[in-house]
């Protein structure tokens, strides 16, 4: 049976709660309600109020107490109701959770996964549309994941919950119930190790590197470019930290052209990071400037006209693709 993105994550949580008696879930409205989007539905009924905590509206205490629970032997899934609200628990993440292993010279490890719905294109405006992964990519000690398919979501979530490192898990909420991407999930204990990009489409003329919902924009752009005879490769990096540089470099060695697409603001976003790494390590491969298609350096505005203007679109991606092949 085909399952959607949300169900895939829900299954991962249920399986890990079952498999790991020391796992705790904490977040706002995740228990009685089952989460704003229903990702945690059924967990509290099954595992009780002790292991599935309806927290007060206190992001800093949610993260901070997750740190303490982990210190005392637990694995913790902490939900941000929207990933945007992570700003309210920011210090606990970057300065406490992320550094705990480092500053204790390995004495303490942190089995904490912070996950939440993310991303724009849904009319969510400034505070329900963010992709703020770059803040954390610039804060050493946190792994960052952003899958684009149900099976990736499940496999990566299960890996995250077993990795004794802090993991930030960006769930594209526009994909949660997108039937177009629903799929059969692999049988059994399906786990995907971090650091492995996925080539979503092969091509020889240019490489789109992307993640999250922009994967679909890139695939669409590749379709359109193909109509004009341009063969674009599409790489879904799946995990940002660690990043699978090898797969990207291999692709660039073949296509000699790079366009990175993501929906965070451009300045200091992860698209720029990929460009900078390839400009260094793949300089000789590049036959055209490595480009970025990202959100403009603006917040995400509400009205559809405005939102679409500032976010990457298939048109903008096609244009960037054309620019690099014609260079």
């Amino acid at each position: 049976m085909k399952k959607n993105f949300l169900t895939a994550i829900k299954e991962a949580l249920h399986e890990e709660m079952e498999h790991n008696g020391d796992m705790i879930c904490i977040g706002e409205d995740i228990g009685l309600l089952g989460g704003a989007f229903g990702v945690t539905e059924g967990l509290q009924e099954r595992y009780g109020t002790g292991r599935v905590i309806d927290a007060p509206i206190s992001e800093a205490a949610i993260v901070g107490s997750a740190v303490g629970m982990s210190l005392n032997g637990k694995t913790v899934m902490a939900e941000m109701q929207f990933i945007d609200f992570i700003s309210c628990g920011f210090d606990q993440i970057v300065n406490n959770l992320a550094t705990y292993h480092y500053r204790t010279a390995g004495d303490v490890d942190m089995g904490v996964v912070i996950r939440g719905p993310a991303g724009g294109y849904g009319g969510g405006a400034l505070y329900h549309s963010q992709m703020n992964e770059a803040w954390f990519a610039n804060s050493p000690g946190i792994k960052i994941v952003c899958p684009s398919t149900p099976s990736d979501a499940k496999g990566l979530m299960k890996y995250a919950l077993r990795d004794r490192n802090p993991v930030l898990f960006y769930e594209v909420k526009q994909l949660y119930r997108d039937n177009a991407i629903a799929e059969e999930l692999p049988e059994g204990d399906y786990v995907i190790e971090f650091g492995q990009a996925s080539i979503r489409r092969e091509g020889s003329d240019l490489t789109f590197v992307t993640y999250g919902q922009n994967v679909y924009h890139c695939l669409k752009a590749a379709d359109l470019l193909a109509e004009e005879g341009v063969k674009a490769e599409v790489i879904d990096i799946r995990t940002l930290v660690p990043l699978d540089e090898e797969t990207i470099l291999k692709s660039i060695a073949k296509t000699n052209r790079l366009v990175v697409v993501n929906e965070a603001p451009m300045t200091c976003g992860f698209a720029g990071e990929i460009v900078a790494r390839i400009a260094d390590k793949g300089f000789e491969y590049l036959d055209a400037p490595p480009l970025r298609v990202t959100r403009l350096d603006t917040p995400v505005p509400w009205a559809k006209t405005l939102e679409l203007h500032v976010l990457p679109s298939v048109e903008k991606i096609v244009a960037a693709g054309k620019r690099v092949v014609r260079f």
Binding site: G31, I57, F85, A125, T298, A303, K304
Partner: protein, 392 residues
Amino acid sequence: MRYNLGSFPNARNLGERNLTAKNGSATATRAKASDEPDQLPRDLLTREEYLELFRQLYLARYFDVRLIKEKKKGRLTGTLYSSHNQEAVLVGSLFGLRPNDWISPIHRDMPAFFMKDLRSGWDNPDRMGMTIEEVCAQVWCKAGSPGRARDNWSHIGKKAKHIIHSTSMLAGTIPVAAGVAYADKLDGGDTVVVTYNGEGSTAQGVFHEAINFAAVHKLAVVTIIENNQWAYGTPTHLGYPLEDYARRADGYGIPGFIADGQDVFDVYDKVMQAVAWGRSGKGPSIVECKTFRAYGHGDHDDDRAAKYRPPHEVEEGRARDPIAIAKKVLLEKGYISESESTLYQAEGKSAGQTTDEDFPPEVVAYLKRGVDYALKSPAPAAEEGERWVFRV
């Protein structure tokens, strides 16, 4: 490993919660008796003012009812956080403010934006509140909104009208309110800043930082806690260990008033005491208004809320309709006659059950103006998306 689940607070075991303020049971620190007025603030109101308060309840209700209907028809985008059944909190707290006092409404307080300083005349162009046109343009996501539809729903405001804009981050506007009050105090002013917050939001760290700062500097900030018993899907006892959220005040040695949030006159009394306390330089205070959320957290949550909330609690909570309670007072006071009291019967009805006949015609007409304006207002031009990142 032994699991010991029984001793964790259980959302499913709500027990009996007291949805109404118990008279005289306010355990929170109160303004000293000597500071309490000889008569209740409402005793100074004229019959006309009583009637105006009453009329404003209808206006707030009608606005919400209309939005619910529009949303159901798919004509609005974004989430509607209904203020149904919580109107007395808004009307009662706004009514006694001076025109240039400041307010900061949040998601469940949409009517507050145009009801601020409504006393200066619904159509008074100099009124220190937003117009119904502006607010409707915002709800309809149009360029005619003061924020030009850049942020959604309740995230508007107007500097010139002393209405502070909020972000989504709950309680995040209280420090802003404190800063506004600080600047005013430094300039020798005596305006009061009223902030609105749900009870769940009081758990945020910035709530504490802001109230603490305001208490140290004796700033005229009145923090209204709209205790509607639920923070989305979380009942009150999982957000705070005490029943009365006004007791948050005790930790700062500031007054914590408790009002019956369904009784517009009680809200008026308590808020006016808090406002007087602030205006006289004595500092911040908290007013907890006990109320009840009629529907889901947002309109997307209506169906789920019907599952996670005990039906008897919802019934009991909705039963104390603020319009009915105010009507009874007006009748008792002889301010309206029996026959007048049956003219408009919005009370006790869900949004879908009401018709325009349940509301005074001037209320219906007022909103129509706003909606007409909104419908005519264009969507913002795409290029505006990149404007105003910086002031140039």
